[in-house]
């Protein structure tokens, strides 16, 4: 295993210390492992809190700041945060208007955030939860733990952060989160496996000419193994898989996220974006907004995910609202 770390056990503590040093504009509670926006909002507002296992950077800490998250709770690598962290975050950012938890749909995250929500409620903090489950590689059936939360998390967090900033109430912000999640679908392809520091070796072995199709963001193998093919063909498969599950028709607009899984160069992500753009154009679907880069990663995994969120004027307006975070900034 080749990693720029001190020891596998201290990866999170060391990275968090580095993040705190690099971002003096944020408040980082190194003991509780909570990243909080630097200044209190001017008026009470719904606080948006997210979190999850580490190894997906810049998610979630990179999205803390005005216009997006009020706090983030990084768990150990690929391990959801513990309830104490989430509770500490909720306490730190609740201004009386309630707290929205944005939770990716994994058994561990659901349980730990769920326990935290109970504890927070006991303390009189009003809490609502939005569950993100956008990964069409997983069938949502009694045969699975439900669809995974992946790239759509960024879109949900951006939208609810903007709406909360405009003073909307907790129920309204939560409803928006659910709506954005429902309008989003993702699918990912891996060219290499991720190596969890504590495991010390790649999660799976992949021959030089094969890829894993339908992977998540935790290094687990995908739904099936295929031969590596040109980007155009891979993208066609990914786009078509998403569209088969989406209610997008010619004339619709989307927000598109071409997301690197951590080990893929931006040059290749732009190749992928070009193909996505062309494939959707053939279907009459217009990309109204896009992100191309590493946003929801899986450590050093090479590969990409595509997220398509059906857009409407309201959502685009929230998307365009100013945001100032470590990983996403515009005005």
């Amino acid at each position: 295993m080749k990693k720029l770390i001190n020891t596998p056990d201290t990866v999170l503590a060391d990275a968090l210390a580095g993040f705190a040093a690099a971002h003096p504009e944020l408040t980082v509670d190194l003991d509780n492992r909570v990243i909080v926006r630097g200044s209190r909002p001017a008026a009470p507002k719904v606080a948006v809190v997210s979190g999850g296992g580490s190894g997906h950077e810049p998610l979630h800490g990179g999205f803390v700041g005005p216009g997006m998250l009020d706090a983030a709770c990084p768990g150990e690598v690929f391990t959801s945060p513990v309830p104490d962290q989430v509770l500490a975050a909720a306490r730190a950012v609740d201004s009386g208007a309630g707290v929205l938890l944005v939770v990716k749909n994994y058994t561990g995250d659901v349980m730990n955030f769920g326990l935290a929500a109970e504890l927070a409620a006991e303390e009189g903090i009003e809490v609502r939860t939005v569950l993100v489950d956008d990964d069409v590689a997983v069938e949502d059936s009694t045969w699975t733990a439900g669809r995974r939360g992946t790239g759509a998390t960024v879109v949900v967090e951006k939208a609810v952060g903007a709406l909360a900033g405009r003073g909307a109430g907790l129920a309204e912000v939560a409803a928006l989160g659910e709506r954005v999640n429902a309008a989003s679908r993702s699918f990912a392809i891996a060219l290499t496996a991720a190596t969890v520091p504590a495991a010390g070796k790649p999660g799976f072995d992949l021959p030089e000419d094969e890829i894993e199709v339908g992977v998540g963001i935790h290094g687990e193998p995908g739904r099936r193994r295929e031969a590596l093919r040109p980007a155009r063909e891979l993208v066609a498969e990914v786009v078509d898989t998403i569209l088969a599950d989406h209610d997008l028709a010619a004339g619709d607009e989307v927000i598109a996220l071409v997301n690197g899984l951590g080990g893929t160069p931006l040059l290749e992500l732009y190749v992928v974006y070009g193909e996505v753009h062309a494939r959707l154009a053939e279907r009459g679907i217009r990309i109204a907004r896009n992100l191309v880069g590493n946003y929801v990663t899986s450590l050093d995994m090479a590969g990409f995910s595509l997220t398509l969120t059906k857009a409407d004027p309201d959502l685009l307006d929230l998307w365009d609202a100013p945001v100032t975070t470590a990983a996403l900034t515009w005005s």
Binding site: V82, D84, T107
Partner: protein
Amino acid sequence: MHDTVDIPLALAWVREIAAAVEQQEGRLTELDSAIGDGDHGSNLRRGFTAVLAALDDLTPASVGAVLTRTGTTLISKVGGASGPLYGSAFRAMGAALPGERADRAEFAAALAAGLAAIRKLGAAEPGDKTVVDAWTPALAAFGQPDATLAAAASAAAEAAAQGVRDTVPLQARKGRASYLGPRSIGHPDPGAASTELLFQALARVTAASGPSGSPG
């Protein structure tokens, strides 16, 4: 040989689990790499390391106090799926054992409460390829009438081991392994494997001669 679980034995059990987890971390992580995300071993090691420290600070007034502190610590330190699941199980066992000692039947009831907590939180059925598939047969074996505590624990450990083996042909329906669909078939479940460690540890400490708390 012990025929009741007293406070020192409860402490010994948890410390024995911690030692087993420490020693088996690599294997648990390897099992989790195959069909999960490769952190089950480090998750439990981190948790039980914290549990050892927490128990050092504790002067328990009951058997349950030991297990409740264990569960609370696991919830606070592990995260992931296994943290809340094992944490809630230990908390439920703790709540079921308010006295200074528990006989075999009382302890069986506590184990049943632990399983119930896991199933309530995780909503897993037997056959879903989870900890439930080791805990369920272990509990059944532990409950056989007329067995001594040590014999019951030993039977439970064996049943748990069989339960782990029985997870191999199953397709996972809960937890991360379910994402793999049919590709989860052919591998033992990591959580079931760590549950086996719990019952093995119980068998060892209850079989140990000498005063409670210093298993031989």
